[in-house]
């Protein structure tokens, strides 16, 4: 038996707090009450376990202790406000009736995920609530990662919890007819958390990287709890994108394009796990946009070079993606793939017709892509003009430096 030290308890907290919390929320029917109960239970463990020994099932002990502590708490509050008396009585009655543990603890974790990602909550509140309640990050950690003031973030979480309570957002995995749409909201939250960690160029890079790792952990948890094809597709997409992390920026924080990345730096283990998931998701024939994007990422990841990439299949996957979710940004990506398959002129033609339709005119990447294709066709003046337009529109430092470098190279080459 390990000695009960603060460090050991901290480790137990890391491992079990989210599970215990998710069950306490179901049993107590209130986020704040459950959080308080969770902390009380761990505090009790810290005083009781060193002398009395660790219980056989620490998780069950924590749940039941938390429950008793919550009822005590309500009884204390009832002395000043009788309205708490009813709640305390109901919880005690349930405790006596012993309706418990037939719901698996894993179901509670899934309930918690669906509740935190409920589309009735504001989008930014979903991210914050999920990171705090499901991933167990502190409000300070989340605030730092999102470069938001802690009180602002705390307020966002308080409002979200109030909405859950006041609007009657249930603590449940949605029924079959709502599941697909709700799963979409969960997947979107995970994807946004990942993107926040992966693509943003401001703030503390280490903390942001943690967000990407958290998102992968969440996607993995979701796949275990609910092995839906799109959940697998999302996990695959995150793994495949993350596999290129070491190669996509230089030590100075400059962006490296896919074609110039050192493929030896790509994480082979993540690539093979991602690719296997893509195959499984595609085989289900119930896949969606995340799986298709992952399939495209897998084709890039498995190729030895840009030239050796299976561009015809990538164009085909973009076609499928456009049928599912029509979007000018996907059309732009498809145009770049077409340029690789059929030549720069063909790609350019597609981008120009996109712009002629009034789409993506103010999007720096459409001009950057045009510039690159003109450059490959050796049309320096057109390339220069397009790089300048892209530079006017770009927001992020590393992308800005990349475009400026390309523009300068034109004059040398």
């Amino acid at each position: 038996m390990p000695p009960v030290s603060q460090a050991w308890l901290n480790e137990l907290y890391q491992k079990e707090s989210s599970r215990v919390l998710s069950t306490l929320i179901r049993l107590l029917g209130d986020f704040d009450l459950a959080e308080e109960a969770l902390h009380d239970a761990f505090a009790a463990a810290l005083t009781q376990w060193p002398g009395g020994g660790i219980p056989d099932n620490p998780r069950a002990w924590l749940v039941s202790t938390g429950r008793f502590k919550a009822i005590d708490q309500l009884r204390r509050k009832a002395r000043f406000d009788v309205s708490y008396e009813d709640v305390a009585e109901r919880l005690e009655a349930e405790l006596v009736a012993g309706e418990e543990e037939e719901h698996g603890i894993e179901d509670d974790r899934l309930r918690l995920i669906f509740t935190c990602c409920h589309p009735g909550l504001a989008p930014e509140a979903r991210l914050a609530l999920t990171l705090r309640e499901v991933c167990g990050l502190t409000t300070e950690e989340i605030a730092r990662a999102f470069i938001t003031a802690t009180p602002t973030l705390a307020q966002r979480i308080v409002r979200a919890k109030a909405k859950i309570r006041d609007a009657g957002i249930p603590y449940e995995v949605p029924e079959a007819d709502q599941l697909a749409e709700r799963l979409e909201s969960v997947l979107q939250v995970i994807y946004l958390i990942f993107n926040e960690g992966y693509s943003a160029s401001v703030g503390d890079t280490l903390l942001r990287h943690d967000l990407a790792a958290e998102a992968i952990r969440l996607a993995r948890l979701l796949c275990t709890l609910l092995p839906e094809p799109e959940a697998m597709g999302l996990l695959a997409l995150l793994l495949l994108q993350d596999s290129r992390r070491a190669a996509r920026v230089t030590a100075d924080g400059d962006l490296v394009l896919l074609e110039q990345q050192d493929r030896a730096l790509w994480d082979r283990q993540q690539i093979s796990e991602g690719s296997n998931l893509v195959v499984r998701a595609l085989a289900s024939r119930r896949f969606g946009p995340y799986t298709l994007q992952a399939a495209i990422a897998a084709l890039h990841a498995e190729a030895d070079s840009v030239e050796a990439t299976d561009w015809p299949q990538i164009v085909g996957l973009y076609d499928a993606l456009l049928t599912l979710t029509p979007s000018p940004v996907i059309e732009l990506n498809r145009a770049v793939a077409v340029a690789m398959r059929d030549g720069p002129a063909q790609g350019l033609h597609l981008i120009d017709s996109l712009l002629a339709r009034g789409e993506l005119i103010d999007y720096h990447l459409s001009h950057a892509a045009r510039a690159d294709l003109h450059r490959r066709l050796d049309r320096k003046d057109e390339a220069r003009a397009a790089y300048r337009r892209a530079l006017e529109l770009v927001q992020q430092g590393p992308e800005q430096r990349f475009l400026a470098r390309r523009l300068a190279e034109l004059d040398v080459g």
């Binding site: 308890l9 901290n10 907290y13 890391q14 707090s17 959080e35 308080e36 902390h39 761990f42 505090a43 810290l46 409920h118 589309p119 009735g120 909550l121 504001a122 989008p123 509140a125 705090r132 502190t138 409000t139 300070e140 009180p151 705390a154 307020q155 979480i157 308080v158 409002r159 109030a162 909405k163 309570r165 006041d166 609007a167 009657g168 957002i169 249930p170 449940e172 949605p174 029924e175 007819d177 709502q178 749409e181």
Partner: protein, 138 residues
């Protein structure tokens, strides 16, 4: 003929009212409902929790989409109301998705609150102060 009276007000201004002012107003509302009922004018109605507790549902291409709160800009006006009995927000969203005008406009789903003489708050239950949001390990 039937009429639906929809009450609009500036929530921020109402939240600034003192508890006494707010209680007095609620008592006036109760008296008003009693008066209307006695005269046979009152069919059904309810005060609502503030917009911070609202959820908006839409149906486009047979897909239900859900967003937080009502629209900030007042381009869409209330066109009628259904009082629904639902187990929770998920059931209410499912019911709201069946209302035909959801295809053209939107249906705002808002929980009703109890009209009591004293003790309720202009900000609903949501107006709790921020506290203990750190959640550190023990």
């Amino acid at each position: 003929m039937k009429y639906l009276a929809l009450v609009y007000y500036d929530e921020k201004l109402m939240e600034q009212k003192s508890q006494q002012e707010w209680d007095a107003l609620n008592r006036e509302c109760i008296a008003c409902v009693e008066g209307l009922s006695k005269d046979g004018h009152y069919i059904t109605g309810s005060p609502l929790l503030p917009t911070s507790a609202a959820t908006t549902v839409r149906v486009r291409d047979n897909r239900v989409t859900v967003t937080d709160g009502p629209f900030a800009e007042t381009k869409e006006q209330l066109a009628g109301f259904y009082m629904l009995e639902a187990r929770d927000l998920n059931e209410a969203i499912a019911l709201a998705g069946k209302i035909p005008p959801a295809r053209y406009g939107s249906v705002e789903v808002r929980p009703a609150r109890e009209l009591v003489e004293t003790g309720n708050q202009a900000g609903g239950n949501a107006a709790e102060p921020v506290e203990e949001e750190t959640g550190e390990a023990p």
